[in-house]
Amino acid sequence: MARELWKGNEALAEAAIRAGVDAFFGYPITPQTELLEYMARRMPELGRTFLQAESEIGAINMVYGAACAGARAMTSSSSPGISLMQEGLSYIAGSEVPCVLVDIMRGGPGLGNIQPGQADYFQLTRSAGHGDFHPLVLAPATVQEAVDLMTISFDLAFQYRTIVIIAGDGALGQMMEPVTLPPMRPPRQERPAWALTGVDGRQPNIITSLYLDADELEQVNLRLQAKLARIAAAEQRWECYLTDDADFLVVAFGTVARIARTAVRTARAAGIRAGLFRPISLWPFPAPALDQLAARVKGVVVAEMNAGQMVEDVRLIVRGRAPVRFLGRTGGVIPLPDEIASELTHMARIDAHANGDRG
């Protein structure tokens, strides 16, 4: 397949189309708007549903409705819009219908700015809405990976009847990179047995998240948790870069991870055996894989475009076996390779000092 230069936002849209998305509902917000604009052109061409909603609240509830009909439905937004969608996400999780959401994160809190950010980590992995649930959160670091993850996201959403979130940031959404796109999948005609299609020849299908009876709702929650446990066991994704002999580890996701990759190379050139551990699934977090590395490294640097969110997961996994340093840039500031490299240098120097540096 030929490589083509694609902007992240547009590549995500085209990948969703090729993965068979039936319906897109969205609302403009920088820096994801090109995704919506692309859908506005392409979906009607293909005879599929595109609708610009009155708000993010409208958009997510349209997704909820279309998902209830068994359609492959999605929306995309950026941080402030995701906050508005949390209500709908909770209902979708409670009703166990599948959908896909893209968050092209920007600087916050509040209106923040339109520069890249990763401060929705907690929101996406921990608190995508009220109640007990986790979406399956996938964080691509390249435009190609964004395409690859989007390509499987509807399958995952339907397999588990869950929410799949592609968590990117403004840099990923705006940047262009060569990608190879997958072939176009034929649209699915069949609808799942649970979908609302009309009662023709069967008992009514009812999709609800309301269970007034406490025991009944607890059973629903137990079932939901059992499903989440299955997802947690089966859907961990991560990448290791130069970790085999690494003394020092950088843990980073998304755009920061590729910056860290450069930093690891810089550190190696300076004689520090550095490696990168990159979670691709933010929920479920690839804990066992990091746990193995944490048992044998001398130090861990966590770099994020936030004030310290994923670092909490990392510390829980490292459990004090190695020092964990945090490098965070906020406000839309992107950390640069030398910042991460100097953290590695610093850590190596402290370690050498602690060990007497007599070697």
Binding site: A53, E54, N61, Y64, G65, A66, C68, A69, T208
Partner: protein, 266 residues
């Protein structure tokens, strides 16, 4: 169990076969409703179900239930149904209808749900001319949460959150939904009816039928506002509640046709 019933021999008490004059519509389940005595919801449910039966669309109709007293509408309608978040039923119905344009999609909403928290969703569904049908029951209070003030609460009316009576200068004025939506080009049918007397109820059912007819003909968005009784939260008897509609609500909310698309036929 069903088989046993079918095998039982029909009683032969009289030579003349009995004429069936009244039965549960196929579009209703046999579940007893949870509604209070004198509440209008049960009768309105039945009318919606009768219309669905009469139009022969039960097999392809999808209902969207609200948050409010009618939250369990999906249990009472013998249809494919879903439960929306508070006020979001028109957005959810939009999603359903857009991906299944050959299905009949309706929302059933109360006044707190539709006119307050869901104001934006109903406004824009109407503005887009979504091919959906909205059954909007206005009883001037939030019923399920215990009778708080709604945007439809009439001036001076006492509720638990307007204990001195609604003061329009500080708490705003009642909202008139069909009048608000009727001028929109995408709206094909916007009317108000009332449940305060039997003759009026017949008009309610006719309007519900027209609203579904609008969707079947694909001429645009349709909404029927129905003035319903809430004896419990109005603190009156069921019969007095009907008088309350007639004497207090009708002056604020006159019944009438605010928009009837010329293409609509019964």
């Amino acid at each position: 169990m069903t088989t046993m019933v079918m095998e039982r021999e029909a009683p032969t008490l009289t030579a003349t076969p009995w004429e069936l004059v009244y039965q549960r519509p196929a579009a209703l389940t046999d579940l007893p409703t949870h509604y209070c005595p004198g509440c209008s919801h049960g009768a309105i449910h039945r009318m919606v179900a009768e219309v669905i039966d009469e139009l022969g669309i039960r097999e392809r109709t999808i209902g969207v239930a609200p948050v409010g007293c009618a939250v369990f509408a999906y249990k009472y309608f013998n249809l494919d149904s879903c439960e929306a978040a508070h006020g979001r039923a028109p957005a959810m119905a939009t999603g359903l209808k857009r991906v299944r344009p050959d299905r009949i999609v309706f929302t059933y909403q109360g006044d707190g749900d539709l006119a307050s928290i869901g104001g934006n969703e109903i406004l824009h569904a109407a503005l887009r001319g979504e091919q959906i049908t909205v059954i909007f029951v206005n009883n001037a209070v939030y019923g399920m949460t215990g009778g708080q003030m709604a945007p439809t609460t009439i001036a001076g009316m006492k509720t638990t959150s307007s204990p001195m009576g609604r003061d329009v200068l500080t708490q705003g004025y009642p909202i008139h939904i069909p009048e608000l939506l009727a001028p929109m080009p995408g709206v094909a049918y916007a009317v108000r009816r009332s449940m305060h007397a039997v003759a009026e109820m017949r008009k309610v059912k006719k309007a519900i039928r027209m609203a579904f007819q609008a969707q079947l003909q694909g001429v645009g968005f349709s909404i029927v506002e129905i003035l319903g009784a809430c004896p419990t939260n109005w603190h009156v008897s069921p019969t007095d509640a009907l008088d309350y509609i007639r004497d207090r609500m009708l002056p604020e909310y006159p019944v009438g046709d605010f928009k009837v698309d010329a293409r609509l036929r019964d």
